[in-house]
């Protein structure tokens, strides 16, 4: 840069080194900038939820139907009772961890694996389940049915 321009072959070498350095710098900058630009694009799914998760939209469930939603790393069960009330519980059977389902005809929660039955408060009423299901809180916020874990802090 500040040096006196040398003549003869070393000039060609110099040009080569400069090209190599420039190309390398350019390529490496490109490899830094590319991930950053991709990072800036907001992902299509805006949320992974927390202790709170949007389990359904209002109107998605009719009375006497249910759906399984993802709650953290486990499935949860959202159901609408015949009276049109929402209930949310853990969908993991306390017997052998199968996923339970709501039986509108029985008004009970049913595990298909070993015919375990729970009432709508999660209490194990018949069959092999040894413990009740965990019950979650349900709020309707706008057109979203929000399920959250019961906890004080």
């Amino acid at each position: 840069m500040g040096a006196t321009e040398p003549s003869n072959p070393s000039r060609r070498r110099r040009r080569f080194v400069e090209a190599l350095l420039g190309g390398g710098l350019f390529a490496s900058f490109a490899s830094f900038v590319y991930p950053v630009l991709r990072y800036l694009i907001p992902p299509p799914l805006a949320d992974l939820g927390g202790d709170e998760v949007v389990a359904a939209k209002t109107g998605e469930l009719r009375a006497g139907t249910s759906k399984v939603f993802r709650f953290g790393s486990r499935p949860g069960l959202l159901l609408m009772t015949a009276e049109g009330e929402y209930r949310a519980l853990s969908a993991v059977c306390t017997h052998l961890s199968c996923t339970v389902q709501y039986r509108g005809d029985l008004h009970q929660i049913w595990c298909a694996c070993h015919n375990g039955l729970y009432d709508l408060n999660g209490r194990n009423v018949s069959g092999p389940p040894p413990r009740p299901l965990e019950v979650f809180q349900v709020h309707v916020r706008g057109d979203e049915v929000v399920v959250s874990r019961k906890r004080e802090a």
Binding site: P35, L45, L48, G50
Partner: protein, 361 residues
């Protein structure tokens, strides 16, 4: 290159910027056997720059709060394109930065670069090291995973043991009596606002002092060069030293990329304040020597509670370490030997306790 030169000319016509950076252009770096140690500070600075960049990127998606923090980091790691890379680099660079900062501190200590007139440079550097550890401690909690939650609980608990002011400090750190979402909010504030502001300030002071005093020569080299001036050699800071420094930065970058791609930083499981503490809670590795000492200290030392005694000793040691340069000139040549001895003992103790901490489980 030509464009660069022309921009320089254009600026020079208006700002006389060559005058501004004149001292930098005249700056030289001594060349001797120990020159490579001069790179460490620059590498630390570079890693801090990486932290600022990746930290800002993380801020785009991170949400503080016990309900969301873990999920938002999980979101960054899984849903955001290259989010895993940004977070992993942030975590890895944080650890490397602490490592190079410690190495820089010990190299300065053993090369005796803290000697008069550079006492203030040493103190500003130590302040930066403490700030870096503060960054580490506050950043560790932000993903709100089990390990970090309990490590923070233990760490702030230790602060609470300090006599008289301890409890107040603990409440200040935790934002309450316990580690809750309030703690997370606080730590987030420290991590992204308070600490960066202070760090930038101290970096400016530190660099200005380094620039003002020039590079220090190790006493041995200095003596030899004085008796035999023909041996003295130096290179220009710009571009010769700077280009070498650039090479070091690029190596650090490559290492970071490789670490992040091959061993992405783990996320662990979400913290559950009501769960019992899991086995194997441990702090970040650079707090390990303190953690292990406090664990192994007898319950009662003389009339003091063992843990309190440990904290007081560490506090005193930290204070003395900060004032190390002032002992150097004391008692003739003996002071210097004391400082060196303390440095070797300190390094040995930290290494031994860290290794012990990891082996002992």
């Amino acid at each position: 290159m030509r464009l660069l030169a022309r921009t320089g000319e254009w600026l020079g016509e208006r700002f006389h910027w060559e005058e501004l950076i004149g001292p930098l252009a005249k700056k030289t770096v001594p060349v001797h056997r120990l020159t490579p140690w001069y790179f460490l500070g620059g590498i630390t600075l570079f890693l801090f720059g990486i932290q600022v960049c990746t930290g800002i990127l993380l801020l785009l998606y991170y949400r503080p709060g016990a309900n969301e923090a873990f999920e938002s980091v999980q979101y960054i790691m899984t849903r955001v394109q290259f989010g895993w890379l940004v977070r992993s680099i942030h975590s890895w660079a944080a650890n490397l930065m602490i490592l190079t900062a410690f190495a820089h501190m010990f190299s300065v200590l053993f090369l005796q670069a803290y000697r008069k007139p550079r006492e203030l440079t040493w103190i500003s550097g130590m302040a930066l090291l403490f700030l870096a550890m503060g960054f580490g401690f506050s950043g560790y909690l932000l993903p709100w995973n089990t390990l970090a939650f309990f490590a923070t609980k233990v760490g702030t608990e230790i602060t609470g043991q300090v006599p008289v002011v301890g409890h107040g400090m603990m409440v200040f750190l935790r934002g309450g009596e316990d580690v809750t979402t309030a703690t997370l909010t606080r730590f987030f504030g420290f991590h992204v606002a308070v600490l960066p502001g202070l760090t930038v300030l101290f970096i400016l002071v530190h660099l200005a002092l380094v620039q003002y005093f020039g590079m220090s020569l190790p006493p041995g080299v200095e003596a030899r060069w004085k008796t035999n001036p023909g041996e003295a050699r130096a290179m220009k800071f710009f571009p010769n030293f700077f280009l070498r420094e650039l090479m070091a930065w690029y190596i650090a970058l490559g290492a970071l990329g490789a670490l992040a791609a091959i061993w992405p930083w783990e996320l662990g499981t979400k913290a559950d304040p009501f769960a019992p503490a899991p086995a194997g809670i441990r702090p970040e590795w650079y707090f390990m020597f303190m953690f292990q000492t406090l664990k192994k200290i007898p319950a009662k030392l003389w009339f003091l509670d063992g843990e309190v005694a440990g904290i007081l000793v560490f506090g005193a040691a930290g204070g003395l370490w900060l004032l190390l340069p002032f002992f150097d000139s004391m008692a003739g040549g003996r002071g210097r030997r004391w400082v060196l001895g303390a440095g070797i003992f300190g390094l040995g103790y930290m290494l031994a306790m860290t290794v012990y901490g990891y082996l002992a489980k």
